[in-house]
Amino acid sequence: MSAPKLRHRGAILALQIGILAAILMTWETAARVRVLDPFFFSQPSLFLARAFTWLTNSGPLLGGRSIYEHLLVTLVETAGGFGLGVAFGVAAGFLLGRSEFWSRVFNPYIQVLNALPRLVLAPIFVLILGIDERSKVALGFTLVFFIVFFNAFRGVREVDRHIVNNARLLGANERQLAWHVLLPSAMTWILSSLHTSVGFALVGAIVGEYMAAAKGLGWVISQAQGNFDSAGVFAGMTILCGAVIVIELFVNAAERRLVRWK
């Protein structure tokens, strides 16, 4: 990386921080002079202080758990929904992508299921699976599955004809073709949607917790809201933002490793 580029980077980061500070300061001022009602909008000094208290107390605070325990619950649910969604999405996309016949048979079902706003399934999952982690994993799964499925399907379908022919002539049988050509092609599509899928897994976990749960970050936010504690809501959201940034860092690293060849 050349020196001017580095300087550029520093400038960008400085501006990004500056913009955040400006927003927070405007918000704070607006709340103090009552342009914004702190009852609804809280104010940065309050909710940042709350988040700080939560983060510095590792003892039980909220519902008998520390904020770290809640965060962990949410992250485990996210990972569960994401992992299952990817596994089944890849498998289904791969199988249907290989078979013209079955992809036609399943086409209307997939279209309808995909069009359905799957968040409405949250209460049903709670009924079937209970209010613990499993119902949140299930919700995240239904969100992630379709994204991964469609991308794997396209990856298998739209692999370059010449590459397939080349591999066949080089001696690939069906299994080898799947391993050396179709799977890598599907992977590139799946990876392009990695950010979206991880995001949706998190949405599944948070929304599920928000609707019915006894722990997790979504539950913390919904509790605060139930107590008209807007500082608690925003503090929860601040911590959620931090978690998202960390997750994104991991996703970026994974992406860079897996599509080195691009």
């Binding site: 590459i163 080349n166 002539l169 590139t188 691009k262």
Partner: protein, 263 residues
């Protein structure tokens, strides 16, 4: 290296009503190096595809080594006109793919692949991905990938058209050396008449499409082993070139007129 003759009998190729080739017949005996020349769009690639078993003739037969070609050929190496390297594999992985898929041990395949990469002049680039190579370098990887298996039939579709003149001569020499070692039957498509004459035993001229057929069939009686550059200075070369060019020019012009008329 038996059973590698190529025979096309009354082959017609149909693309939804458009007959690219009509009643095309020719045969290439085992071990012969045949160049195919013809105006663009006349069906040269289609012929290679049929011999490789990737495309089917609407009517007529394609035989390879006496056997009817009805599915993907395992005795033919094919260097495609388009880029067909696996973009997610490195140069090394691309080149060792053929032996690996055909059951060689990974270590042996790798040793062989390194040898071939050096042979096409890409030593040191083993760990690059195709996206990190120039067009000419990619062509050379494709060449190593196709030739490494030492198959009895070689199908080469404008293999050297993306190379600079110097590299091109090197690769042509390499191909001739290899062919002399292995004695494969070669179908070599090119637009470059000089290249066709200096490499091949025989030059087949296709007529302009639609309904392209074999317009002319020239034997090249230049002595072997040949040096690609020096062959061009052998007395018979220019004479042959002029005669073939006269035939080819007619077809190129006809093709051009037709495409203008339909535009």
């Amino acid at each position: 290296m038996a059973h590698a003759s190529i025979v096309l009998e009354n082959v017609t190729v149909d693309f939804g009503g458009y007959h690219a080739l009509q009643n095309l017949s020719f045969g290439v005996p085992e071990g012969q190096f045949a160049a195919i020349v013809g105006p663009t769009g006349c069906g040269k690639t289609s012929v290679l595809n049929m011999v490789a078993g990737l495309a089917k003739a609407a009517s007529g037969q394609v035989r390879c080594g006496g056997r009817l070609v009805d599915s993907v050929q395992c005795s033919a190496a094919y260097m495609f006109q388009q880029d067909a390297l696996l973009p997610w594999k490195t140069v090394l992985e691309n080149v060792l793919l053929g032996p690996l898929l055909r059951g060689a041990a990974r270590r042996d395949a790798e040793t062989l692949a390194r040898h071939w990469i050096a042979r096409v002049g890409l030593k040191g680039l083993e760990a690059r991905y195709p996206a990190q190579l120039s067009g000419g370098q990619r062509k050379r990887v494709a060449m190593a990938q196709a030739l490494i298996c030492g198959l009895p039939v070689l199908l080469l579709d404008e293999p050297f058209s993306a190379l600079d003149a110097q590299t091109r001569v090197l690769m042509e020499e390499e191909l001739l050396t290899l062919w002399q070692e292995q004695g494969a039957t070669v179908l070599f498509v090119t637009h470059d008449l000089e290249e066709a004459i200096s490499l091949a035993d025989r030059v087949l001229i296709f007529s302009a499409g639609p309904g392209s057929r074999l317009k002319a069939d020239y034997r090249v009686d230049l002595p072997r082993p040949r040096n690609v550059v020096e062959a061009r200075f052998i007395p018979g070369f220019m004479d042959l070139y002029r005669r073939i060019w006269a035939d080819l020019k007619e077809e190129v012009l006809a093709s051009h007129e037709r495409s203008k008329a339909s535009a």
